[in-house]
């Protein structure tokens, strides 16, 4: 018997993919519902390896989906809900056309609500997965929180976004996990480290809402993304709050509305306003201290001692960062954007207040003498207090990025600010030649050194010009005296010290040799797969070192020549 002829595209690439149109027919949904379903479930179109085969011999470019994905969607219970929504909105539209307000009201009340809990769990099986994908979620939620109610967006969406994002900020404040801040022309870039995951998000600048061009962005589509992200952020917030023993939704322990305030606003508005102020610490469920960070073990299976030292240094700097603004009291002038600055300051333990009339939640007035810093963004202020520094907001950003308080001098009111550098630049190549001035930008202590050096040079020059011979004598005599004193000190130290018994004599040369041998052995352990890469890395490193050495030498020679010239003249 002749076997049945195999049909084309019944196996292989052709059987793997399904076009969007076919998927619609299979799922029996409209394109709009399909889009929504795909976004909510996290199913994206695919690019096949061989497009002609995947499209069953059809040339041209179609949007293709994996057939397994579509089969998975077939099982989804929210498909039924989406159909309900469709019929519900049709009914409402009809009632509206007939001006049957009773029916409109009735249908609106029974409008189906999509429950997305199970989808969040499905897409992010563990909490860490959810944290890993928080970037998009946060950025979109922060963005939508600035929107007014608009045509294609559900009525409560922007309000929900606002609520959830402020809750998230409260968590960041309580946990103190913010790491980097960058103010760009696009918006504020923040980076936090939550449970070992770096989360980056962008917050738009607080300017008035500007209408978007409809041709550029599909508003409805974005609002579907936000619809899912709201649910996700809610559950993430819930978990994060409970990890810190905080009460969720946030509550305040020491917040009691005065009678007048109670009369003016209702309870919900009162609380939500205080939440938005970001200036109160929220209530805890219990007083148990949650231990989050564990000190790094000394015995580590990391081979490289350098890496270990680096990690320790990093941990130390983070510890320093957490209490960066502790004990400092800030007052914000009204031209300063309140929310981001309060968020940053409170993250690292600062106390903040602002003008009472600006926003609710101000804790102290401008005339408080204990204020240490006033954040100002204008060239001058009428009446100044002598007990505080008037600094520009960039001082805060740069202090956070450098993980230590920058010297305020350069950031005083009216001063031309040093450049605000991005903390997101790649730190991979540290062995790049940097001129002394550029290095000083990253390291403030170096700057002072340079400054001192310059001054000394200038002084010496001046002295040279003014009194040539006399000074030399004095200098010499002074230096003599100093050296004598040093000697004396050394003597006294020797007298006090106890001579240790010589146990073994370690030969440093031998030790170095052994280390080098070990290093070579370790080099041999590099897998064949990575050998070439390793080789090129080392070579590049060597080249860079050489270049740095060369450039430094050039500079040194140049400076020496310059000095000689100066001296001659």
């Amino acid at each position: 018997m002749v076997s049945k002829k195999k049909k084309k595209f019944s196996s292989g690439e052709g059987a793997k993919y399904i076009s969007r149109r076919a998927a619609l027919r299979k799922l029996q949904v409209s394109l709009r519902e399909f889009r929504r379903l795909c976004i909510l479930k996290g199913i994206y179109p695919r690019e096949p390896r061989n497009r002609k085969k995947a499209q069953k011999g059809d040339t041209g470019i179609k949007t293709l989906y994996h057939i397994k994905d579509i089969q998975f969607l077939l099982h989804e219970p929210i498909i039924w809900k989406l159909r309900d929504i469709k019929t519900g909105s049709k009914k409402i539209a009809k009632a509206r056309a007939l001006k049957d307000y009773e029916k409109i009201h009735k249908f609106n009340n029974s409008y189906p609500v999509l429950k997305l809990d199970h989808i969040v769990k499905e897409r992010y099986p563990t909490f860490i997965d959810a944290l890993r994908d928080l970037d998009d979620c946060l950025t979109l939620c922060f963005l939508f929180s600035t929107f007014p109610s608009m045509k294609h967006i559900p009525r409560d969406q922007s309000q929900l976004c606002r609520r959830l994002t402020t809750e998230f900020m409260h968590y960041i404040i309580e946990a103190g996990v913010l790491r980097k801040v960058f103010v760009s022309i696009k918006g504020y870039y923040y980076q936090a480290e939550i449970k070992g995951q770096t989360v980056t998000w962008i917050v738009p600048h607080h300017f008035s809402f500007e209408p978007q061009n409809r041709a550029e962005v599909d508003f409805k589509l974005m609002s579907i993304f936000v619809e899912f992200y709201i649910v996700m952020l809610g559950f993430v917030n819930f978990r994060l709050y409970h990890s810190l023993n905080l009460h969720y939704p946030p509550k305040f322990p020491s917040l009691s509305a005065t009678n007048i305030e109670k009369q003016l606003v209702d309870e919900d508005v009162f609380v939500s306003e205080r939440v938005a102020a970001l200036n109160y610490s929220i209530a805890k469920n219990s007083n148990d201290i949650v231990e989050e960070d564990v000190a790094i073990d000394d015995f580590c299976n990391e081979d490289d001692p350098e890496k270990l030292a680096e990690a320790k240094k990093e941990a130390e700097s983070i510890e320093n960062l957490k209490t960066l603004f502790k004990g400092l009291k800030f007052f914000l002038n009204r031209e300063v954007p309140r929310e981001p600055i309060v968020f940053m300051l409170r993250c690292f333990g600062g106390e903040v207040s602002w003008d009472k009339l600006l926003f609710v939640g101000a804790t102290f007035d401008e005339n408080d003498e204990s204020i240490t810093h006033q954040i100002v963004d204008r060239p001058s202020v009428d009446n100044k207090y002598t007990s505080r520094y008037y600094v520009q907001p960039q001082w805060i950003f740069d202090s956070i990025n450098n993980r230590e308080l920058m010297p305020v001098k350069k950031y005083f009111m009216g001063e031309i600010l040093p450049p605000h550098l991005s903390p997101f630049t790649n730190k991979g190549l540290t062995d790049i030649y940097m001129p002394l001035e550029e290095r000083a930008l990253h390291d403030p202590t170096l700057l002072e050194e340079i400054h001192k050096k310059d001054k000394e040079a200038e002084d010496s020059e001046k002295n040279d010009i003014a009194e040539n011979n006399d000074d030399d004598h004095i200098d010499e005599s002074e230096s003599d005296i100093e050296s004598a004193e040093e000697l004396q000190e050394n003597d006294t130290k020797k007298k006090l010290s106890v001579a240790p018994g010589k146990v073994t004599k370690e030969d440093p040369q031998q030790k170095g040799k052994e280390a080098r041998q070990e290093y070579r052995l370790r080099e041999k352990m590099v897998k064949n797969k990575h050998k070439r890469l390793y080789k090129s890395m080392m070579q590049n490193k060597l080249e860079r070192k050489k270049e740095i050495w060369l450039l430094r030498k050039k500079r040194r020679l140049h400076e020496e020549a310059k000095n000689e010239k100066n001296q001659k003249s």
């Binding site: 998975f72 897409r123 997965d129 696009k186 500007e210 450049p419 550098l421 997101f424 790649n426």
Partner: protein, 445 residues
């Protein structure tokens, strides 16, 4: 002249052929009389009065009061004629409650006091409770009351001793929904980062070098675009000659009349057709069935055998020679291997590069947006004087496209369908201008 007899069966033919103007005129007159009274019985002054504007002044308050005294919303309820209702006494339909007799009312009251309820009432109370309960259970947006990542005692693997089939069977009874989540749901469709690290030149107060670097990047990108535009113009627009309308028509005429040589027509008429012998010849003459002789067949067979033998000998000879060429062959094999390895490396490299690029998901190709930047004049160096560039929403939208999450698309303006309007023949109201006119012209004749 005898009038032609015409049919008056249809409405249209009736209208066409019967002059009813006099009847209409008469009726018209009658209506007018009804309205204005009999003709010429009254003088104009009696008939008409001169309308004078109302001089009586009323205050705003009074105007308002007047308006309120007779509100528009109730006007519909009022009788619109002054004709009185012919039925002076109307009985109102009594409600169900009013129709009940006093005895029934009394009995029901007693029942209520005792707390005895009808089945209908009991049902309604139950239904109401159920509705309230259901309403409470409805999911609310923005309410998060549980930790979905909390590890529950997983029902799907209760005991390792129970085989999966029986667990599935038992779970079906508990209402647990069993399904496998496809792996693509948890995977990201790209390796690109969600939020690109910002260029240091994007800072509101950038260092000079960073800012210059950014500007350089922008400039090179723009230059490339300009170059591409120039190229496209050169290749498309510039290769066509621009010709004025007159010359275009002229060339068209000359081109189209090619071969229709009017001048040479005479001479071509004089030419004689080429001479032939008059015999018909097909283009492909029929094949002849020519048979081979026996000798020819034998020779052919012999040749075939000889050729096969030669081939075999050649292969045998090659086998021997190949033994000597072993080293050479090995080298060749090595070369092939090396080539394969090289190709593999190339492919890996290409794949790695490709994984960072945006995939082609739809008919439209992904296009990157322009880089955003501040011009040097816009940089003020303070937070207050910051000039915002780029919309974050567009940025996110494009980023989603770049990360293969959504296929690139543009908004397509819905085209309005063009309607061709016309009036149905039966609905045309032009019989007076078409039909009646024809008739009058006929009458005149």
């Amino acid at each position: 002249m005898k009038t032609k007899r015409v049919s008056k069966r249809n409405k249209i033919s009736w209208r066409k052929h019967v002059n009813i103007d006099d009847v209409e005129d008469f009726l018209e007159e009658q209506r007018l009389e009804e309205r204005l009274g009999p003709k010429s019985s009254l003088t104009e002054k009696q008939l008409f009065i001169i309308d004078k504007p109302d001089v009586t002044k009323i205050s705003k308050k009074e105007k308002c009061r007047l308006k309120l005294a007779n509100p528009v919303c109730f006007q519909l309820l009022k009788p619109h004629t002054n004709v009185p209702d012919p039925i002076s006494k109307r009985n109102r339909v009594r409600s169900k409650e009013e129709r009940k007799s006093k005895l029934v009312k009394l009995r029901e009251e007693e029942r209520k006091i005792k707390g005895i309820l009808k089945a209908k009432e009991v049902n309604s109370i139950k239904g109401k409770e159920l509705y309230e309960k259901k309403k409470k259970q409805l999911p609310k947006r923005g309410e998060f009351t549980k930790d979905i990542w909390e590890v529950q005692n997983n029902v799907t693997n209760i005991n390792e001793w129970i085989n999966p089939e029986s667990t599935v069977h038992n779970l079906r009874q508990t209402g647990v929904y069993l399904k496998k989540v496809v792996s693509s749901v948890t995977k990201k469709p790209t390796v690109l980062p969600t939020i690109d690290p910002p260029h240091p030149g994007l800072s509101y107060n950038p260092s000079f070098e960073d800012h210059q670097n950014l500007l350089k990047e922008v400039a090179t990108k723009e230059q490339e675009l300009i170059k591409r535009d120039k190229h496209l113009n050169r290749v498309t627009k510039n290769i066509f000659r621009t010709v004025s309308a007159g010359t275009r028509d002229k060339t068209w005429l000359t081109e189209m009349s090619q071969g229709l040589s009017f001048e040479n027509r005479e001479s071509s008429k004089n030419e004689k057709p080429s001479e032939t012998d008059g015999e018909y010849r097909s283009i492909n003459p029929p094949a002849e069935n020519k048979k081979k002789t026996l000798k020819q067949r034998r020779k052919q067979k012999e040749q075939l055998i000889a050729a096969r033998l030669r081939r075999i000998a050649k292969i045998e000879k090659k086998k021997v020679s190949d033994l000597h060429k072993l080293k050479d062959l090995k080298e060749k094999a090595n070369l092939v291997d090396q080539k394969i390895l090289l190709n593999k490396q190339k492919r890996e490299k290409y794949n790695e590069l490709k994984s960072k690029q945006t995939k082609r998901l739809g008919a439209r190709k992904f296009e990157e947006t322009d880089l955003e930047f501040n011009m040097p004049g816009d940089l003020t160096g303070t937070l207050r004087g910051l000039k915002k560039e780029s919309s974050l929403l567009v940025d996110r939208f494009v980023s989603l496209q770049k990360r293969n999450v959504i296929p690139p698309s543009v908004r397509i303006q819905a085209k309005k369908a063009k309607f061709k309007r016309f009036v149905k023949p039966g609905h045309k109201d032009d019989w007076k201008s078409t039909v009646a006119r024809v008739k009058t012209s006929l009458n005149n004749k």
